[in-house]
Amino acid sequence: MSCFLCNSSLGKKLVMSVTGCCLVLFLLFHMSMNLVAIISPEGYNMICEFLGANWYALAGTVGLAVLVVLHFVYALILTLNNYRARGTQRYAVTVNEPGVEWASKNMLVLGVIVVLGLLLHLINFWSKMQLVEIMGGEGSTVGGYFISAHDGATLVAYTFSQWYYVVLYIIWLGALWLHLTHGIWSMFQTVGWANDTWYPRLKCISNIFATIIVLGFMAVVLVYFVYNLCGGCSACAGSL
């Protein structure tokens, strides 16, 4: 059992599929949580507090880290294999085959962008929230203001008041969207859950799912950015 997950190509792909599936579920959860920040900053902060340096949140964080590392390391191993399998001499002329999506052929590139975005995201948020708590701190000084480790809403508002973060996050989310459109249906294909009827359906579901997740994340970024632009006028002050 254990060995086929390391030795066999299909076993390795199963690891990709299962870790990918868990990460997609996490994204769905994270996205739902973020949406709360639009509806109610206080509610959002309650969630932030709930997910502080508690044992369950820490266990979840470690689990997530393991998933990401597995997913990424396996991707590197598989891609290296694939590179070798292509041989030393490459085609002089290559084209995009009809019906083949660009994302499907560039998953590693998209994955790297996603990981870079993730690092940025960890620096922006996690290092100022959960990490601070783990280190026993109360909060951190960001842009001259002291922000409590539980005050996620303020941190969000501050981060997305800066246009370059907005641009970087949009690029990141765009890459994530492309990665997910191929990744989600692919995880079904890899565990063998596809046939002629379900093949188009899964592709459709995959696109819808990826779009919902990415739109959810993007909504938070854009809402806070726009809110900051219009200077927090009274029209929306109530909600944010």
Partner: protein, 247 residues
């Protein structure tokens, strides 16, 4: 019609190859691509030069012998045909056509456009069969098989083993080829008996021979001359994983 051909020439497996340019003239639009190659070769022989080596045999699109990567496509820009079924009317007069051999670590070049595809034979030898002896079998109608299953088995069995799937795949994966055989036999009651063993053995052999890993791009089904669907790959995955989990 006239064409400029950029063709990969390589003396043997060990030599380094390079592109050479040739011109062919007065080609009828009804000429097949391989007939155009015959004309080029006949010209080369008359000039005392070595003709371009390329694999071909039945010229009906069924033997799977012909290969060639033409203008970036396995078997040329037409979909669902082999190189031998490609006609010159599909190209523009005066066009430049680039012709390369299959490129895959598991298919080393033998000469010019000819590659060694014995890896595919080895995969099938690992388990692409039903272990019945000659003359110890029940009547042909003893086991009824639903028409839909027989048809689906036939869809997969249409594979001609040409190698276009692995040659096209950016990962050099032979999954479509392996899947076609596994799936074809998995859809028949006769093939179910040793289905688990077959899937495991063929996948292990495929890995051993240095083919890459499938990333579900679907490029193989787009270039497959028999339009074999990647849903057969899903079935292979299913067969393999269920076999492994039963171990």
């Amino acid at each position: 019609m006239n064409f400029k051909l950029k063709i990969w020439r390589q003396k043997d497996a060990k030599s380094k190859g390079a592109f050479e340019t040739y011109h062919v003239e007065g080609i009828s639009p009804d000429t097949s691509f391989l007939e155009m190659m015959d004309i080029l070769n006949n010209n080369l022989v008359h000039e005392g030069k070595e003709p371009v080596a390329f694999d071909h045999d039945c010229r009906e699109g069924i033997c799977g012998m012909c290969s060639m990567h033409i203008n970036g496509h396995a078997h040329g820009p037409e979909q669902a045909v082999t190189t031998c079924q490609l006609y010159m009317r599909k190209f523009k007069d005066g066009a430049t056509i680039t012709i390369e051999p299959w490129r895959s670590a598991a298919f080393p070049v033998i000469k010019d456009l000819v590659v060694n595809r014995s890896a595919y034979d080895q995969i099938l030898q690992a388990g692409g069969f039903i272990s019945v002896r000659t003359n110890s079998v029940p009547d042909g109608n003893a086991i009824p098989i639903p028409k839909a299953d027989a048809d689906e088995s036939m869809d997969a069995a249409a594979c001609i083993g040409c190698g276009a799937c692995a040659a096209t795949c950016k990962n050099g994966s032979a999954m479509l080829f392996v899947a076609a055989r596994v799936s074809s036999l998995a859809k028949l009651p006769q093939g179910r008996v040793e289905g688990a063993r077959r899937a495991k053995a063929m996948v292990a052999k495929m890995d051993e021979l240095g083919f890459g890993n499938c990333t579900n791009t679907g490029a193989c089904q787009a270039e497959c001359p028999k339009s074999i669907s990647i849903t057969h790959i899903a079935r292979l995955n299913r067969e393999f994983l269920s076999a492994k989990f039963k171990d």
